[in-house]
């Protein structure tokens, strides 16, 4: 039983990261009906920028570690949001009226561009975050040994997801985003500036992806320019699992995917971990083709 809970916490930490990245996919899909394949690479950019800022500004030395990491996170979010907005302006806006396939190809191209640009800037070798930024403390929860960082990752993910949820539900711009998701033309007729809404989506999604990249860098230490692909694929799966276009769905899907992976590895076979996770996805999609929370079309974002 102890092993079960240990695996559950392993899965929750991984799932929290998946969920944060999945939010970016799901928001863009909700508004544009576009799978932003470059999103995984925005996540990678976040982890690289985090490393650069961390080593060049030595924030964690000047401020308390916790405050330093917080400032760092805000800076990374801001920078990656700018990259996301640029991406939208350069690669997607010119194709707004073209067939959907063109935009998907453009997204794949942007993904290849980003990962190779990172390789050329930072080099092909693995980059490593300096050690000991986050305290290596383990918390004892009912006799279960859980590293504090894992709890912080999950907590930070949940807080950001909830903040996003309330932002979308309660604010004016959130309402505009929801309206544009339902019907862009109708939203335009109601006086909503759809281009501005889309820009907002491309600021928020990449910011969350970027901060997920920073968390991966801080916790796992090792980053490289290809890692966005695997994370992107998993997060995309999570978004579909929860119902793509649906924000709570992305959260549930991400966390669920992480937990399924961990438990599948624990009780079935490690080598079959991905097969199990994707098998579950197929079963869920057969039973519920719109994903777990995908039926609430009126609230789609």
């Amino acid at each position: 039983m102890e092993e079960f809970f240990q695996q559950l916490t392993n899965g929750l930490a991984v799932g929290g990261i998946y969920a944060l990245i999945a939010l970016g996919y799901t928001m863009v899909y909700g508004v544009l009906k576009l799978i932003n394949f470059a999103h995984g690479d925005l996540f990678t950019i976040g982890s690289y920028l985090g490393l650069t800022l961390l080593t060049s500004l030595s924030l964690t030395d000047r401020l308390a570690p916790a405050a330093g990491v917080l400032v760092l996170a805000v800076m990374v979010m801001g920078l990656v949001a700018v990259v996301g907005a640029l991406l939208e302006r350069v690669a997607y806006r010119p194709l707004r009226q073209s067939p959907r396939l063109s935009a998907v190809v453009s997204a794949l191209g942007a993904s290849i561009f980003f990962s190779n640009a990172l390789m050329l800037i930072y080099g092909a070798r693995f980059q490593v975050y300096p050690q000991g930024i986050l305290p290596k403390v383990a918390v004892n929860i009912f006799g279960l040994y859980v590293p504090l960082v894992r709890i912080l990752i999950l907590a930070a993910s949940v807080v950001m997801m909830l903040a996003l949820y309330f932002f979308i539900q309660k604010t004016r711009i959130g309402t505009a985003i929801r309206a544009a998701a339902i019907d862009q033309d109708a939203a335009r007729l109601m006086g909503i500036d759809v281009d501005r809404v889309i820009l907002f989506v491309f600021l928020i999604g990449p910011a969350l992806g970027g901060v997920a990249g920073l968390m991966v860098g801080l916790h796992y230490g090792q980053i490289n320019f290809t890692m966005g692909w695997v994370y992107g694929l998993k997060a995309f799966t999570a978004a579909i699992l929860g119902g793509i276009g649906n924000i709570p769905g992305a959260m549930v899907g991400g966390i669920l995917l992480g937990v399924i992976e961990a438990l599948g590895a624990a009780y079935l076979s490690i080598a079959w971990k991905d097969a199990i996770a994707f098998g579950v996805l197929i079963i869920i999609l057969i039973v519920r083709p719109t994903g777990l929370l995908g039926e609430r079309v009126a609230e789609k974002v």
Partner: protein, 374 residues
Amino acid sequence: MKRVFIALMALCLLAGVPTLAAADSVKIGLMGPMTGPWASEGQEMKQVLDLLAEDLNAKRGLLGKTVEVVSEDDGGDPRTAALAAQRLATQGIVAVIGTYGSSVTEATQNIYDESKIIQIANGSTAIRLTEKGLKYFFRTCPRDDEQGRVAVQTIQKLGFKKVAILHDNTTYAKGLADEAKGLLEKEGVEIVFYDALTPGERDYTAILTKMKGASPDVVFFTGYYPEAGLLLRQKKEMNWPVPFIGGDATNNPDLVKIAGKDAAEGFYFLSAPLPKDLPTPEAKAFLAEFKKKYGNEPASIYAVLAGDGFRVISAAIEAVKSTDPDALADYLHNKMKDFPGLTGTLSFNEKGDRVGEVYRVYKVDADGNFILQP
């Protein structure tokens, strides 16, 4: 007037270009992972070959011609590699050096064989690559059955009774894991865990937690250094003190960077000797020259093994005084004996495998240095 000019230009192109390209140089191909997860290996392979070719051209060239290294990127991926091999095969190369990963090499073997191009792999240790009877295939790295044997020897010497084996489902890692498993079972050592991870991920705690449940004395990981580094780091975070032994793909200084010094300490791995432990005078001179040109010594032994591939093929071309692939293959198989390579003496058997013992056991010390074990 304009039309005459264009026609003249076209004639010049038709007549001039092929002769220029064909006559003045001997082309040696390099296929390596310049991008992708193993890009650091590939880029160093290129540095080594560029340096060796420069040296050769400064001295005498080959057969009175200059040597040209034509490199293609295999991306560490079998599909990309097949395309790279097709491109190389049409560029008039005599031989190709590379590549690093066994599954990547395997995807290109037949392409080179059909084009009668000598292929000398530098890091592909999977057994079956040389069991296909391909006449033009050689490798300067040793084979996994040899590595498996040394691994089992080491495990027994260190007195471990319960062993967990973890691989990553690549041709190389699974081959080595199977080899070691068979040998260990024969010796009566208990295998308490045998499974594969997915390379390229960041979180391996689920696997470590499961492995811990099997309570092995030692874990033998046959995959590559990025995953090995993460496993060591996350094992340390779990407070699990089990010793790890790695295969020769964990031999890369980045392992310590990824794991952190405190987590990497005590990690054993098998490998051909590291560049710094190479005993031959050729190697010492080469390393000094490499450092002069690029600012640091080569980090990876596989880049140096690629250099040996280049040296072997250029020696063969000199010896047979031609670039005929059959003559070269025959020379490498039968006539080359104890060629003084950078990584020790080189000879090839009839399968194209390197003859002789190459593997050593290394241990990581507290400062993250790789220490050769006696």
